[in-house]
C-alpha cells in the first residue's frame, strides 16, 4: 500500500483506544507479588477451549482495550512469562503440557484461569475428553468468570497483577 495513503489513514484514525477505567482496588487477602508490579509477561495456554476466550483475550490485547498500556505483554515462551493465562477445560492430552508449562515458568509466577470452562468445566463438564478444570491440576491465583469473559474483565484481572 502506498505509504502516503497509509499515513493518511493513521492520522484520520488517530488514537482509538478506550479511555482507561479507574484502576481496580488491590484486595488485601490476595496480595500480588511485589516484583511483578508494572511489568507482566503473559503466556497463554489453551488446554481445550472453544476459542471464545481466545477471541476475548485477543480483544483485550488489541488496540481498543489495549491492556499493554498497563504493562502486560504476551510472550512466546513460559521462560519469559510471569502469568499463565489458561483457557478452556483441561483435556486428557493437555494435562501434561499444562503441568510442564507451569513447571517451565520461573517464580514468582501466577496462573489465571480465564472463562467458566477453566473455572469449573462450564458446559463441557463430564464430557468424555475432559480431565477436569484447571484448579484440579495446578493452583489458580486468579479467576476470570464469564463464557466468554468480557475483555474488560480480563484487562481488570491483569491490572490487578500489574497494579497500574
Amino acid at each position: 500500500m502506498n505509504p502516503f495513503h497509509l499515513l493518511k489513514l493513521i492520522t484520520r484514525a488517530g488514537r482509538f483506544a478506550e479511555p482507561a477505567p479507574p484502576a481496580p482496588a488491590a484486595d488485601a487477602e490476595h496480595p500480588m507479588p511485589q516484583s511483578l508490579r508494572g511489568s507482566v509477561q503473559v503466556r497463554h495456554v489453551d488446554t481445550g477451549s472453544c476459542n471464545g476466550c481466545e477471541i476475548e483475550i485477543g480483544a483485550a490485547f488489541g488496540g481498543v482495550y489495549d491492556v499493554e498500556r498497563y504493562g502486560a505483554r504476551l510472550v512466546a515462551s513460559p521462560r519469559h512469562a510471569d502469568v499463565l493465562a489458561v483457557t478452556g477445560v483441561v483435556t486428557h492430552n493437555m494435562v501434561e503440557p499444562l503441568l510442564r508449562t507451569v513447571e517451565a515458568t520461573p517464580r514468582p509466577r501466577l496462573v489465571i484461569a480465564i472463562g467458566d470452562c477453566a473455572h469449573d468445566c462450564g458446559l463441557f463438564a463430564g464430557a468424555y475428553g475432559v480431565a477436569g478444570s484447571v484448579s484440579d491440576f495446578v493452583d489458580v491465583d486468579l479467576e476470570v468468570p464469564g463464557c466468554p469473559p468480557r475483555p474488560e474483565a480480563i484487562v481488570e484481572a491483569l491490572r490487578r497483577v500489574t497494579g497500574r
Binding site: L6, L7, A13, S35, G38, S39, E68, R69, A76, R79
Partner: protein, 313 residues
Amino acid sequence: MIATLLVIVQVVVATAITPLLLGVMRQVRARMEGRVGPGVLQPYRDVRKLLAKEPLRADGSSGVLIAAPLVLLVSSLMVVALVPLVTTANIPAVPNDLFVVVSILLIGTVALALLGLDAGTAFGGMGSSRHMMIAALVEPTVLMSVYALSIPVGSSTLSKIVVARGADVTRVVTPAGLLAVVALVVVVLAETGRLPVDNPSTHLELTMIHESMILESGGRDLAWLEVGSWLRLTALLGLVVNLALPWGLADSAQPLAVLVAVVAFIVKLLVAGALVAAAEVFMAKVRLFKVPELLAGSFVLAFLAVTASYLAG
C-alpha cells in the same frame, strides 16, 4: 586519562539511556497504531522485574546457557565504549578501529548463536541458523561501507572519520558518503533484528530469528540478553547518527562541552529511534530468502560508494 574518563561517561550515559530508547521506539509505534502504549519507561520496569525472577536451567543444557548472555552483554558494552557516541576521544591503546569493533560485535553474535543451539530444541537451532546466515551476509556490506567511509580520511578509525566528516560539510553530502551511510543503515537494521529483516515483537516461532534463540532463557539471563541486544542498537544507531550529523561530540573534558555532547547525543539518538520506529509501521517483515536480496542491494550501494570515491569522486 581524560580520554578514559570521557569513555566512562559515554558508557554510563549510553547504558542509562538505552531502555529509554527502546521505550520511545515502542511508544511511537503504539501511538501510530492508535494504542496508548505502556509508556517510555516500560523497559526499565521489565528489566527490574526480570532481575527479580529466578532463572531456569534445563537439565542437560551446558554452561553456555549461563555464559552466553553475559558474553553478549560485555561485548555490547565494549562496543558502546569503543564507538564514538558522546566523545571522539578514545583510549590511546584501544583506538576505535572499525574492524575491531565489528569483530567484537561478532563475539556477541556468536554467543547468541551458540545459546540458540545449546538447548537442543528445534526453534533454537532454527533461529541460530538464520541469525548466522544473516550475520555472514551482512559482513561484506559492513566492511565495504567502512571502507567507503575510510577512503577520504585514510584511516579506518571511527573517531577520525567522524571528526573529518564534522570538519567539512561537503564530506557528508558527497554521493559516496551518502551511499555508504544508507548502506550502513540497512546493516544496522539487519544486525539489530529490526524490520524488515526480523520482527522484534513477533510471537510466531516460525517467523522468529532473534526471539527463537532466547526462548530458553528466563530471569536474569533474559535480562542480560535483552540489555545486551538493546545496547547493540544504541551503539550502531548512535554511530550512524554521528556519521550523518557529526557535530556536538566532545573531544575534551570541559564540563560544558561534555554536557552539550551528552544532550546532543541523547536527542539525536532518540529522534533517530523514533524515526526508525515510525518507518517500521509502514514496513512488513520480508521473507527470509528475500533478505539476501536486501543485503545484496545494500552491498551494491556500499560498493558504488567505494568505486565513486576512487574513480568518480
